[in-house]
């Protein structure tokens, strides 16, 4: 029984929380992919930037969370989302829009976004330093330990407050995104631009406005994902490419330009990561006595050693590119 609880803690809960973070990042990437038609490499650092704003606000008002009984970082998150969303629009105005006007190829846009990612990285590390930071310096991180009603279960299921907030927020975000995309004029316009930009433009849709809304959504979700990830673990300014690869994998697995596919893809990648670094040998331990003597049980059977975690999203990406380049939900091949 304890082994099962260990599995739940290590695979289900941590997989779901990292998956939720990837999902929120991947929604932004896939929206940008669908509407602006380029892979946005600056997304990882946009997430870090959002988390950094939340951290700065938390450091400024360390007691604000007590008013609501929530972690301060979470209370500050909406402001961080707002700031990041506005910055995302400004970045677009300053760096991407002029290139779009010149009608450059999508690869050039990708390169520009790498330029932007380097700029963001430089600024974040210049002002924030390079060491990891913790949000909970003025308050305590609530950790819930649930025990199962079985006698053999002496261990407890551990879930932290930031993880619960992360799940709730992800649900809210996905449902409101669904509402926006299917029931509002703007959302319908976004889907139209994603399907056929030229047709959308000639039928009178204001593409400029659509692009701004896309950046607002992508930027705010990136900030939320970054903040919630940093609340759960810590704020690491050097994550960028380690975060970017799983997010791209998630977006491509779900099908490019397909926000709900991105959500599914995020969880697929998240669970794949935790499943492959999980030590499966612990499931064999209860049966140790029934094994013959000559068969020595290995102490660790993991598909991938923890230090090679980054290979998992890459492997998923390669498999999906070989077998189903459209992703599981038949996204676009732009």
């Amino acid at each position: 029984m304890n082994e099962l609880i260990f599995f739940i803690n290590k695979v289900i809960i941590s997989g779901a929380s990292i998956g939720a973070v990837y999902a929120m990042g991947a929604i932004g990437v896939t929206l940008i992919f669908g509407i602006l038609r380029f892979a946005h490499f600056a997304h990882g650092d946009m997430m870090t930037m959002g988390a950094f704003f939340a951290f700065a606000l938390t450091a400024l008002f360390p007691t604000a969370g007590q008013l609501f009984g929530l972690p301060t970082g979470f209370v500050m998150m909406p402001f961080a989302m707002l700031i990041t969303a506005v910055i995302a629009v400004l970045i677009d105005k300053a760096f991407y829009q002029p290139l779009r006007k010149n009608n450059v190829s999508s690869v050039t846009m990708v390169m520009a976004s790498i330029g932007v990612t380097l700029m963001l990285q430089g600024l974040i590390r210049l002002f924030g330093g390079i060491e990891a930071k913790h949000f909970f310096f003025a308050e305590r991180k609530d950790i819930f330990r649930l025990s199962l009603p079985f006698e053999s279960a002496s261990r407890k299921i551990v879930i932290t407050e930031p993880q619960i907030l992360l799940f709730v927020f992800t649900l809210l975000a996905v449902f409101s995104l669904h509402y926006i995309l299917t029931h509002t004029r703007m959302g319908k316009a976004m889907r139209a631009v994603s399907d056929n930009p030229d047709l959308a433009r000639v039928s009178g849709i204001n593409t400029q406005k659509v692009i701004i809304v896309t950046w607002l959504i992508a930027g705010s979700l990136a900030a939320a994902a970054g903040t919630l990830l940093s609340l759960d673990v810590s704020l690491k300014p050097d994550l960028s490419f380690n975060l970017l690869l799983p997010i791209f994998a998630a977006a491509i697995v779900g099908g490019v330009g397909h926000p709900f596919g991105a959500v599914v893809g995020g969880f697929v990648v998240g669970f794949a990561e935790t499943l492959s670094i999980f030590n499966w040998a612990i499931f064999l331990r209860p049966f140790k006595d029934s094994f013959p003597e000559w068969l020595e049980l290995p102490s660790k059977i993991a598909l991938v050693p923890t230090e090679y975690k980054i290979t998992v999203p890459f492997f998923i990406l390669i498999v999906i590119l070989i077998w189903r380049p459209t992703g599981i939900f038949k996204g676009k091949v732009l």
Partner: protein, 423 residues
């Protein structure tokens, strides 16, 4: 007279680059200047590799670091002196056993894929291949782990083969080409962004493997000193030895440059540019678009491999954590797009200018931020953080990013644009 007015831009830029190099020689001494020139020479080969990929064919390689690191490792493995204690221990034979097992596994996978019975049953074949891959992988990992830890305990690491350095460079180039074949084979048929994502990922993976496989690379302990193709500074002094190294690199660059110029104006080069500029039209003319792209991608990566191996050999230390995306990928991007992608001379000049500026920017940034710290502390009573210097250097990351975006916007074709000949 015509030659001068036709090539005014080239002459001005060559003059500027030479002036920069001369300034370095005058201010920092001949030994340092030669070191910088040798590094520039290595970066030039890498940049020429990128200019083929990006300038000739429009392929986006965001993982140059991976190709450099892999080929540097292969070159180290081939040319580093033999580690006697490893070959004397029983680990050598058990390691051979592990790899023989891997070979058998790969043969089985290949066999399943080619089995005539399964050719018509795609789904079953894929399933079987997948099972075979998973089993091979798990068996390999399980059998490797004890051998690896035993090697680490007794012999440290496997050492090298003690072969001449040039063989190491050639082997490095070949392995980089194989890696390019693998990535290109999967991604080149798809949209161009996917190649960027895949190369970025593979670079991070190669770095992670090299950093953690201590039995193979000594990981963070680093391997040094790497053997040189010419007598080392310890034997004949810094200046002579570096000058000899530089001479070898200069010959190598001259040969590569000449070959590239020939290739560029040959029918092959025209075809590559036709594919880059209008894929559909080229395909309609019966050109094998993806095949040619794969060709270009591999050739470029071989050059990156050779340049990377030469670079690491020159620094004489193999340090897997020393490979940084900023230094080994994006700096090279700046060299190529600033110099003029698709123009070999432009790439060469871009490399010289960007590298000199890059090397000089470190003391310059520190000086500027020292000034900021002084002003802040005296005027505003501000306390600078402890890691102020390492933070200050991050400013260079920002500048590299800004340069990329500005060049793309205001001079998308670089300082020396590719010359389009009208016929």
């Amino acid at each position: 007279m015509n030659i001068i007015s036709d090539n005014k831009r080239e002459l001005v830029l060559v003059g500027l680059a030479s002036a920069l190099v001369a300034l370095v020689f005058l201010n920092l001494g001949t030994a340092y200047g030669l070191r910088m020139l040798a590094e520039i020479a290595c970066f030039t080969i890498i940049a020429l590799g990128l200019t083929i990929q990006w300038g000739y064919a429009g392929l986006f390689n965001a993982g140059i670091m991976g190709f450099i690191a892999l080929s540097a490792f292969v070159s180290m493995l081939v040319s580093y002196p033999v580690n006697e204690s490893f070959w004397a221990s029983g680990d050598a034979s058990s390691l051979a056993g592990v790899f023989a097992g891997l070979g058998v596994g790969i043969a089985i996978i290949w066999g399943i894929n080619k089995l005539p019975v399964l050719q018509s049953r795609t789904k079953l074949r894929r399933l079987l291949v997948l099972i075979a891959i998973a089993t091979t992988y798990l068996m390999f990992m399980q059998s490797l782990a004890p051998v690896a830890s035993s090697i680490e305990k007794t012999a440290g690491f496997v050492g090298g083969f003690g072969l001449p350095v040039w063989m190491g460079w050639v082997a490095g180039g070949i392995v980089a080409g194989l890696l390019a074949w693998f990535v290109g084979h999967i991604c080149l048929g798809l949209r161009s962004d996917y190649l960027a994502i895949a190369t970025l990922g593979i670079a991070e993976i190669i770095k992670a493997v090299l950093k953690n496989a201590d039995w193979l690379t000594r990981g963070t302990l680093t391997v040094s000193p790497l053997p040189w193709p010419v007598p080392t500074p310890g034997e004949i002094g810094f200046i002579t030895s570096r000058a000899l190294y530089l001479a070898i690199m200069a010959i190598l660059i001259a040969v590569i440059f000449w070959l590239l110029q020939r290739a560029y104006s040959a029918p092959w080069g025209r075809m590559i540019r036709a594919i880059r500029d209008n894929e559909l039209a080229a395909a309609a003319m019966g050109k094998d678009v993806n095949g040619r792209r794969l060709e270009v991608f591999i050739i470029g990566s071989v050059l990156m491999g050779i340049g990377g191996a030469a670079l690491v050999t020159f620094n004489s230390i193999f340090d897997p954590s020393g490979f940084l995306p900023l230094h080994h990928t994006f700096l090279i991007w700046v060299m190529v797009i600033l110099g003029g992608a698709g123009n070999n001379l432009g790439t060469l000049i871009g490399t010289v200018i960007v590298y000199v500026v890059w090397v000089m920017s470190e003391p310059a940034t520190l000086a500027v931020f020292e000034g900021i710290r002084y002003l802040g502390e005296t005027w505003f009573d501000w306390q600078a953080p402890n890691d102020f210097d390492s933070r200050a250097l991050q400013m260079r990351v920002f500048v590299i990013g800004l340069t990329i975006t500005l060049v793309l916007r205001f001079a998308p074709r670089g300082l020396l644009p590719e010359k389009i000949r009208e016929h």
